[in-house]
Symmetry: C3
Amino acid sequence: MQEKVHFKTMEKDNDCYQPFISANPITSFNKNQIYPNIDKTAYLSPFTSVIGDVTVSSNVFIAPNVSIRADEGTPFVIGSNTNIQDHVVFHGLLNKLISYAGKKYSIFVGNEVTIAHGALIHGPCFIGDRVFVGFNSIVYNALVGEGAFISINSVVTNGVRIAANRFVPPGAHIDTQEKADSLSQIPKENKAFSQEVQRVNQEFPASYHVHFGKKCCSCGIPYND
Amino acid sequence: MQEKVHFKTMEKDNDCYQPFISANPITSFNKNQIYPNIDKTAYLSPFTSVIGDVTVSSNVFIAPNVSIRADEGTPFVIGSNTNIQDHVVFHGLLNKLISYAGKKYSIFVGNEVTIAHGALIHGPCFIGDRVFVGFNSIVYNALVGEGAFISINSVVTNGVRIAANRFVPPGAHIDTQEKADSLSQIPKENKAFSQEVQRVNQEFPASYHVHFGKKCCSCGIPYND
Amino acid sequence: MQEKVHFKTMEKDNDCYQPFISANPITSFNKNQIYPNIDKTAYLSPFTSVIGDVTVSSNVFIAPNVSIRADEGTPFVIGSNTNIQDHVVFHGLLNKLISYAGKKYSIFVGNEVTIAHGALIHGPCFIGDRVFVGFNSIVYNALVGEGAFISINSVVTNGVRIAANRFVPPGAHIDTQEKADSLSQIPKENKAFSQEVQRVNQEFPASYHVHFGKKCCSCGIPYND
């Protein structure tokens, strides 16, 4: 009953499970073609795209079917040890940027951030270190302080600024600063959960690289040159 | 730190970043195999599928990880200059069709429509010219008049008919004609936003074709035959 | 105006439209590499991944851009005749398992289940036979009894147990046992709808295999060895 696993080597020119990594196209609003800058310790899964001026830092894990597309708003930065789960989209509006440490970005995501399955990260936005973005949630035109926890199915938008370590409840629609300011502190159990998700996901880049690296088949068995 | 970009030519038989374009399979309810009819000026991104009787008109832009699958309800039409963002799904129920201009369709989408990231367009449905469908919204069993604006995370369903230029607010669930009839007119700023999104996206098909066209590598550098 | 369909044979080593099927990587929390066990009558679409200890039973249909990733919580079982629509994600939390018939699972999905477009099935969870999970809905840390109907955009979570044949209304957030216990019985029209979706989708695996099988091009035309 078990189907044969496809033996496909990862260095071959015709390997089909490599992510799509490309410069942005030239447009009237973006005349420079810039390639993604991807740290070699990051791992990008099959059926995932990274286009344009995107920095992917060390030990980032990107799951299958993720689209990171800096062809309009640009640049994007993704910090170290951040994980980006299946079906996440990164995209940014033209000419709408946030400032951080003296530079301008469409999307800046810090270190040890978790972007859970199906979330949408749409520039302009800033997401601080150790933020957790829950299933199917949307961060768009917002600044999210470090350690905040954005629960499942919620929206943070309309230029709001979420303070550090705040908790956005499930299904919330935070679209005024008043709503943002009234958020409570992150409960201890959510902080612990977020840390556990980090612990698990920080193992993935190296583990997947051993499994699918330059000297392995997609089946995980090493081969000789 | 910069990873090598994969040089893969786009005309080679083994190019892996071509969208998947195919006729529908033969079933008891659909005995004709029909190929998509895709205008050569449209651009389809990697990891995107188009299956069955689907017309993709001129200058349509389709982002990565989009699935347009006319294997059940059929046919689908997508009008000129329409853009379909990352992770959108088009699918239709069997034998549930809408009528437009004397013909029957599972899904008819007009010209200069924007279907934003993560939206689901499920037949039977009609979407008029210049409609904007927001992030993660669902249009299913509905008729949406031209110029309407469907905000983020909303649902339009249950056979409702939305009049032209109406505004569906964020998170709304429009499932009765009474709710549909009580919608207000589209605010000026949303109309302007929708037009700006069109302006940007109408540049993409030609720009991406130059970048990834028949004479280029996926890295954007032209090569000689 | 019709673009040339790409003729790519399905048995060639460089075929790019095969799903990605792989063992899980080795991690500190998962030291065994296990390959998916996929029944040969199941059909998996392009741009779809199945990773790790996943059993895919007979006549399962899996649409494009689905990610089934048993690299953390494991194992997953998917029963016969179940269909998994475009953009669905299966993933599970580490060390959080459900018990069924004397064994432990991260995710157990029964027979003749429909998982509609964009749904997220996150372990630990159990989904009984003939359950319908609607568009964009989330089942995470829950037990769903056979024949239940989970409507569009809803969430079932926080350890709740849904009794057989209950109806979760659109947009509901069922996160307490009290809410779960107050759900009404599935209406007749929803039961009929669910059965019709099964009828249609149970035809797909064999139909797609004829179309894209070992002896066909992706265009559906048979070729000779």
